[in-house]
């Protein structure tokens, strides 16, 4: 096993995905002669305006929305900031309480913390050990003055998909606006805003083979939103600034391709993902899968490896040409264990050993062979250096392992 010609394996598609050549192709004219500013009343402006209108249709189609409900932004992070702050501020005379889950992306959590500084109160609903939010917990957290609930559609770190439609039933019953961060799901699994029943949804192009520097926010017609970026009247006055035309065109094209190829993509990455989920723990003792087994993002194979620390595994893998992520290292660079794993109840030392393989459409069986072959010796080597492992081997080797 293991094709000896393999030298580089990218398994960090949760951090960002490669741009598809068709997407770049679609963007190129807008870097070229069609460089106009969409706000301008002349042929160059018209061509650019038509392009972003077409992209708006494509994105709307992907999530079952009306085009005029879509705003383009500069990132998933901006979409989440705009949603959390904009939806809460728009309703602040109705109440000043917001609800999120404990495992949201920092662009949601830290936006909510900023709301706290502005006098809002924040409730973070817990998750179970698989990372699942209980809709009944959401119900219990809603108060008279609750104006916004935000629960992510899926967590890209552990892959768990949340019961959004069930939570939406609760928020609708309670009459509270519900935002979902679909950055990890839109373009990857079927997402339909009407079926989900949410009021607001964010997505990002670079998560499904589209460009960086562009995201989108969908807000249901009639739901008020205070803009984050003031200025011109672009995006219906809700997001000022000259539009990133090529980026928007790329997002549109990526959305179109994602919708068209979704089923085959999911099959492909899940096949490889399942191999990792099964073969790695079979080859590496005390390497445990994190997240939900069934309600799981395609391509997501997340683990914790006992007795060693994730960054060192990541670096060793990188020395063999394999790109992965440890915990939320990519977005936080913090030394702390992932807030997601801790919220799931994992002990700190186990959470430190988190490692995420995220499979993309370009990965192959041979690459998975290569990774499965590389992993045991890397873990072994690091464990030989680990004082925790020596303590463990010195004491009852057959004992219960920590956590999970």
């Amino acid at each position: 096993m293991g094709d000896s010609t393999i030298t580089k394996v990218y398994l960090d598609n949760a951090a960002t995905t490669p741009l598809l050549p068709e997407v770049l192709e679609a963007m190129l004219p807008y870097f070229g002669e069609a460089f106009g500013n969409p706000s301008c009343l002349h042929d160059w402006g018209d061509r650019a305006r038509e392009a972003i209108d077409a992209a708006r249709d494509q994105v709307a189609q992907l999530i079952g929305a009306a085009p005029e409900e879509i705003m383009f932004t500069g990132s998933g992070t901006e979409s989440n900031n705009l949603a959390i702050k904009g939806l809460a501020l728009a309703q602040q005379n109705k109440g000043k309480h917001v609800v999120t889950s404990a495992i949201e992306h920092f662009s949601v959590l830290h936006s909510a913390r900023t709301l706290e500084k502005w006098g809002f109160e924040l409730t973070e609903v817990p998750v179970d050990r698989y990372g699942v939010v209980d809709p009944e917990d959401v119900r219990r957290s809603i108060r008279k003055d609750t104006v916004l609930v935000s629960v992510m559609h899926a967590n890209s770190e552990v892959g768990t998909i949340e019961p959004i439609a069930e939570i939406a039933r609760v928020t609708r019953e309670k009459g509270v606006v519900f935002h979902t961060d679909a950055v990890a799901t839109a373009g990857t699994i079927p997402v339909d805003v009407r079926e989900l029943g949410v009021d607001s949804l964010s997505l990002a192009g670079n998560q499904f083979y589209g460009p960086k520097g562009v995201g989108a926010l969908w807000v249901r017609k009639g739901v008020r939103l205070i803009p984050l970026l003031d200025g011109g009247v672009q995006e219906g006055g809700r997001r000022a600034g000259t539009e990133n035309v090529p980026g928007i065109v790329g997002l549109g094209k990526a959305a179109e391709l994602a919708a068209r190829h979704m089923v085959t993509r999911i099959e492909h990455v899940n096949h490889l993902r399942d191999r990792l989920l099964i073969e790695l723990p079979a080859r590496v003792e005390r390497m445990v899968v994190t997240g939900h087994t069934e309600h799981r993002l395609p391509g997501n194979a997340s683990f914790c490896v006992e007795f060693i620390e994730g960054e060192s595994v990541l670096m060793m893998l990188n020395s063999r040409g394999i790109a992965v992520t440890s915990g939320s290292a990519c977005t936080s660079k913090a030394l702390k264990a992932s807030h997601v794993l801790l919220a799931m109840g994992l002990p700190h030392e186990l959470a430190q050993g988190s490692i995420l393989f995220s499979v993309g459409i370009a990965n192959t069986d041979e690459e998975i062979d290569y990774v499965v072959d590389a992993m045991p010796s890397i873990v072994d080597r690091l464990r030989q250096m680990s004082p925790l492992y020596s303590k463990f081997t010195r004491t009852s080797k057959g004992g219960k392992h920590a956590g999970l």
Binding site: E309, S312, S319, H348, E349
Partner: protein
């Protein structure tokens, strides 16, 4: 990996002096797995010099490189000299560390110091006996 200097990468990929010493003259442990880094240093002392230094480290790339560098710097030094190995010197010898990894170099020097103090404490206790 440009986050880390070449020296860090070298000490991470080929760490010097990994292991334990049987019947060490001193042991020093610093950090804990909760905070993400933990180092144990083992020393063997002869004629007031660190005849052997070994370590085991649970932690990030920087933590492993720092441990390796500290062990290499300490080996052969007198105890007084070894106690003068500061986090700053360790980081410099490693060609610098990212800001958020400074605490690793603190841990390395501290673990060594602890091991030496462990030795000195035991010696004193032994001498007193």
């Amino acid at each position: 990996m440009p986050v880390y200097s070449q020296q860090v990468m070298d000490h991470f990929m080929n760490p010097r002096n990994v292991g334990e010493i049987e019947n060490p003259d001193g042991i020093g442990e610093e950090g804990n797995p909760v905070c993400g880094d933990m180092m144990t240093f083992y020393i063997k002392v002869k004629d007031n010099r660190l005849e052997d230094v070994k370590f085991k480290t649970f932690g990030c790339g920087a933590a492993i490189a720092v441990s390796s560098m500290v062990s290499e710097m300490a080996k052969g030094k007198t105890l007084e000299e070894a106690l003068k190995i500061t986090p700053k010197i360790v980081a410099e010898e490693l060609g610098g560390l990212p800001k958020n990894k400074f605490h690793c170099s603190n841990l390395g020097a501290q673990a060594l110091t602890r091991a030496i103090k462990d030795y000195l404490g035991k010696k004193k206790a032994g001498g007193d006996k």
